[in-house]
């Protein structure tokens, strides 16, 4: 097997403590089918052991390796070098926006995690409630329908709390108080009917009304959460709730 070899320069954002940020350049020989995270790991292993970055699972499940690659948010573990560079070219790797930088490519996502907890985003939900297409079991391998019929079957919810949507959102850039796509999507997932606390969070200036429909969250979401659609649905819920209250039917309606 002859492996294709590309020479790619990685322009990596660096910042330690209070020092001014700068970019370091690393010229690497890579296979275009390797992932950006593989290159970052190789830079750390063979070029600069002081490079700080974060990762865990390497298969788009943990949501830890989110970075901006050429100014667009990506899970670097599933972003092939071929998709973001060309042979002899350059790739810029930066930490996510709208979060405080701890060091180099690592940001502090504590606020996001705390907010997801505050809105009680469930880690799992019944398979029957999942927005999954019914998979035909033609090949005899796919589970097909039966899983849905298991009343106790649960699955991990789609949002992996990677923060890509928050980084991509133009409103989160200027409005630190904005709940942001991930948290609003978590609220929509549960619905606000009969939940005054969630409804109050969603229906305020830092909630659904701050969104300006750029749909960048949906564009970068690696996990089919579609936060943009969920925010719009939440608006519909908020308007419906307001009208129900107007006609004297409260939270129980």
């Amino acid at each position: 097997m002859t492996a294709e070899v590309w020479t790619v320069t990685f322009r990596v954002f660096r910042r330690k403590g209070a020092e001014a940020p700068h970019y370091d350049f690393f010229r690497l020989e890579v296979s275009p089918d390797e992932y950006v995270l593989d290159a970052i790991e190789r830079i750390w292993a063979f070029h600069d052991r002081s490079l700080v970055y974060r990762y865990a699972c390497h298969h788009a499940t943990c949501g830890a390796c989110g970075m901006r690659v050429n100014s667009v948010e990506k899970l670097t573990c599933i972003t092939t070098i071929r998709s973001v560079a060309r042979d002899g070219g350059e790739v810029t790797v930066e930490p996510l926006r709208n979060f405080p930088v701890i060091s180099d490519l690592t940001v502090d996502m504590g606020d996001l995690y705390r907010s997801m907890e505050a809105v009680h985003y469930p880690a799992v939900s019944p398979v029957a409630a999942a927005p999954l297409p019914t998979i035909p079991a033609k090949d005899g391998i796919s589970p097909g329908g039966p899983l849905r019929e298991e009343p106790d079957a649960h699955r991990l919810n789609d949002c992996i709390e990677c923060g890509l949507c928050v980084s991509a959102c133009p409103i989160a850039t200027t409005t630190a108080g904005y709940l942001g796509p991930a948290v609003l999507a978590a609220i929509q997932f549960q619905g606000i009917s009969g939940k005054p606390a969630l409804a109050g969070l969603a229906d305020c200036e830092d909630g659904v009304w701050r969104c300006h429909s750029a749909y960048e969250c949906t564009a970068v979401c690696p996990s089919l959460v579609d936060p943009g659609w969920r925010i719009m649905d939440l608006r519909k819920q908020a308007i419906g709730r307001r009208f129900r209250r107007l006609f004297g039917r409260g939270e129980t309606a």
Binding site: Y178, D206, H212
Partner: protein, 126 residues
């Protein structure tokens, strides 16, 4: 975004947002009429004084242009306020914006209605 620190506020909720959207929709309709009559069908794109006076002498048209003024000013000020909200103003700044915009809005409407009344009362012959 930290919910442990930020409490819900009511700077822009369903009500104001719906008002922005509703006035926006009305602006599309009224601006369509306004543009067609005042600029598209007019010779050289602009009405002269006499044509304006004739146009406004229909009570329905004067009423429409008056409502258009109220609606478009409302939409513009709500939109500007929304942009300011994106810049995370302090409560004090937002309070000043609310007052300032209310005064500007009311001023524009009073001015516009005064202007309409001046032209209508002077009549098309004037």
């Amino acid at each position: 975004m930290d919910l442990t620190q930020s409490a819900p506020k009511s700077g822009e909720g369903t009500g104001l947002w719906l008002l922005k959207i509703a006035t926006g929709a009305l602006v599309i309709i009224l601006l369509g009429i306004h543009l067609t009559v005042n600029h598209l069908t007019a010779p050289q794109g602009l009405l002269d004084y006499h044509e304006v006076a004739v146009y406004l002498s229909h009570p329905g048209i004067a009423l429409m242009e008056g409502s258009f003024l109220v609606i478009v000013v409302t939409h513009a000020l709500l939109g500007l306020r929304s942009i300011i909200l994106d810049l995370k103003p302090s409560r004090r700044v937002l309070g000043a914006v609310n007052w300032g915009f209310s005064i500007v809005g009311a001023g524009c409407v009073v001015y516009g209605i005064w202007l309409l009344q001046v032209i209508v009362s002077r009549g098309a012959g004037g």
